[in-house]
Symmetry: C2
Subunit: 473 residues, 2 copies
Amino acid sequence: MSRYQQLAARLKEQIQLGYFAPASRLPSVRQLASEHGVSLSTVQEAYRVLERDQLIVARPKSGYFVAEERKAISRPEQSKPPQRPMDVSLWEDVLAMLLGHGVDAVCEFQHAMPDMASSTLKPLLKSLYELNRHRPQDGMKYGHIQGDAGLREQLSRLTASAGCHLMAEDFVVTSGCQEALSVCLRAVAEPGEIVAVESPGFYGAMQAIKAANLKALEIPTDSRDGMSIDALRLAMDQWPVKAILVTPTVNNPQGYVMPLEKKQALYQLAQEFDIAIIEDDIYGDIAFDYPRPKTLKSFDDDGRVLLCSSFSKTLAPGFRVGWIAPGRYRDKVTHIKYVSSSMCPTLPQLAIGRFIREGGYERHLSAMRQHYRKARDLMLEDIRRFFPEQTRVSYPEGGFVLWMELPKKYDAVKLAERAKQAGIILAPGQMFSATGKYRHCLRFNFIDRNHASREAALRTLSELLPECQLSPS
Amino acid sequence: MSRYQQLAARLKEQIQLGYFAPASRLPSVRQLASEHGVSLSTVQEAYRVLERDQLIVARPKSGYFVAEERKAISRPEQSKPPQRPMDVSLWEDVLAMLLGHGVDAVCEFQHAMPDMASSTLKPLLKSLYELNRHRPQDGMKYGHIQGDAGLREQLSRLTASAGCHLMAEDFVVTSGCQEALSVCLRAVAEPGEIVAVESPGFYGAMQAIKAANLKALEIPTDSRDGMSIDALRLAMDQWPVKAILVTPTVNNPQGYVMPLEKKQALYQLAQEFDIAIIEDDIYGDIAFDYPRPKTLKSFDDDGRVLLCSSFSKTLAPGFRVGWIAPGRYRDKVTHIKYVSSSMCPTLPQLAIGRFIREGGYERHLSAMRQHYRKARDLMLEDIRRFFPEQTRVSYPEGGFVLWMELPKKYDAVKLAERAKQAGIILAPGQMFSATGKYRHCLRFNFIDRNHASREAALRTLSELLPECQLSPS
């Protein structure tokens, strides 16, 4: 990258982060040159780049100004799913996306994989390989059915910072959060029964509902603060809901954090109707707020909350280390976990336990929080630049995915097909519903590995959009 | 071990393996001394040890003779389980045994873990830690939903030697055989439906039946050649059986290999009634016969057989690498596998794939076959020496577990409790039934890690037996 490009990138970031307000005057060419120790022509070249990108405007005789503020991006409004229990479909769409993993692509927006190239992960990887080298026998035997006791002690410490009071024996280690959710669903509901879920909601949980022969009742959900408690109460008055499955802290796909009072209201409602809550907290530790928001489980004084999580979003999904704090369902959960896949491999548990104990986990989280928050801000700005004004976007308060609602005339499935030909992989919205809603929506991974290629990909998407209108049906 | 002890051990083995027939004359002291290049007193000392153990008798002026043959041990007769579909119980017993894993003990007969100390496993372990060192990123990402393609290619080769014609895309890698069985049960039967199983049968499969809300119909099973086809037909005439779950090649717990014609008859019966077969082949590769017996799947010309296996018995359970060749159920199996635990960790798959490709797997199997066969023979002989004459024992044709039927007046559960106090861990028989049958039976792991301590443990068990009679109920 040449000097002027570097300078342009830096100025652009400062504008996007709001250091220079819209319509405000930028430093003069002479001033910037002396500030950055570069030539006048370097500054002029940098300003020309920003002008071309419509981030700044040049006014003759007056200098350079930040462009006028465009309308802020709106958030999606509260969703309006069908108000009755439904069978889950859309597996074909999920499968197609899963089979896309690992396919060479220019830009992968579809997956929910964290940044795994950070140097803060190095101590963990070193520990893992040393365990494989020096204690291979530990990796060959069956371990404890509830998981390694040392890791469970660390889980007890970690969850304390989310407001929970749990002991090592209160945890069951699982093969990722997917197994955790699947086991919990089977533990709390019998075939044919109804589970209330957020809408949109995580497709892996929806598909687990399908496989357990349960029905999904999608509850209207707000992109700012989550599942509507009023709508949930109405639904529960009308239908024999057996459990609520929610991702209240850094939701997938929307990224919101449900406010604490609302979490409490949700818990009380579950208590009133005497049903279970499955709380998916997989992104909870990478909420941007620190200390992290408290869980629903933190209110749980009668063991009805099954808290599920994993290290797939905070460290790496390939380790397949997740866990459940199943409350009063521990015996049933242990049974179903055992028949599902027996014990979990020991060495990743040992390595992660050590990583937490020695402080590596907190250091890594701290780096990721900063990284993802910055990436979110840049992504939101890029979306504002490239997408139609009526586009709505959720405002993630943690994690690395966001939810986009295109104007209703667009077909995200068509867009995904076209984009794939250009090497850009998308996750269309309908997978995040039991019944194929959200066909005009998309979930984006916004981790900013290479901003130039992300920008180019978003520009390409915006160019493809006009051809991707819904066919009149 | 001193010279005379070495010689005694060698002679004992030769007697047990039948090189010297019962009541036949043994070589003279002088002859043996010259043959083995040891002193006369060493031979005399060795013969004295064998005499004390009642394996040989000294006849004055005539020399040493092998002891008269004792009555051969009888095999268990065909089982007589209740002839109706039952809910599976006994989880508490299974859990208690699982929680015993890893507890310090003098002698562990209860688990079904293979010998993992063999030097033939070294290349695999080396490859695993090298992958962890040099390709950690491969271990962090999500892999292919069906498992690593390279491993699946090797599975295609492996199963060819069991008579199958399968391509890499015909496999779905799972988290051990437990996940394979659990996924297959859910793929072929709906809650409330009936699955026919062997009796006795593997407790992990029984518990998976319970968790999937299915009913088990235990079919009379012969310790020599497996499930009775006649009894199965009768049962299927009477009940709407949805699938048959069998372990026909090196059965767990009995160790028999179902003859090929009988496998064919079983397959044809499934075809006639148009139902699925879940074939658990987890011990198939360590049948003592080489080349290994063909699978039921080898007859499968219409995709109704779901072949399940893993490397837990051939390599080590801790790797948690199993697989399914699901035939016509592939789509459903892929779905349920995905919701159950998402993808499997990649590095163990890469390491095992390489181990097979480079010939290490075959070398290891060959060593294990010899090792286990010899251990079986010694175990059978020890059982004959220590247990009451009416004790019946299965004759494993592979693997490393056998099934013992004590005279009916004994209570194996009581025996297990007493034995535990002496540091000897047992697997009582009732777990191998849906409904608590086989209370007078035990499954033994017969791997001979330390023959002296195994012998001592068996002697202790025989001494405890008289106190372990069934209470009159």
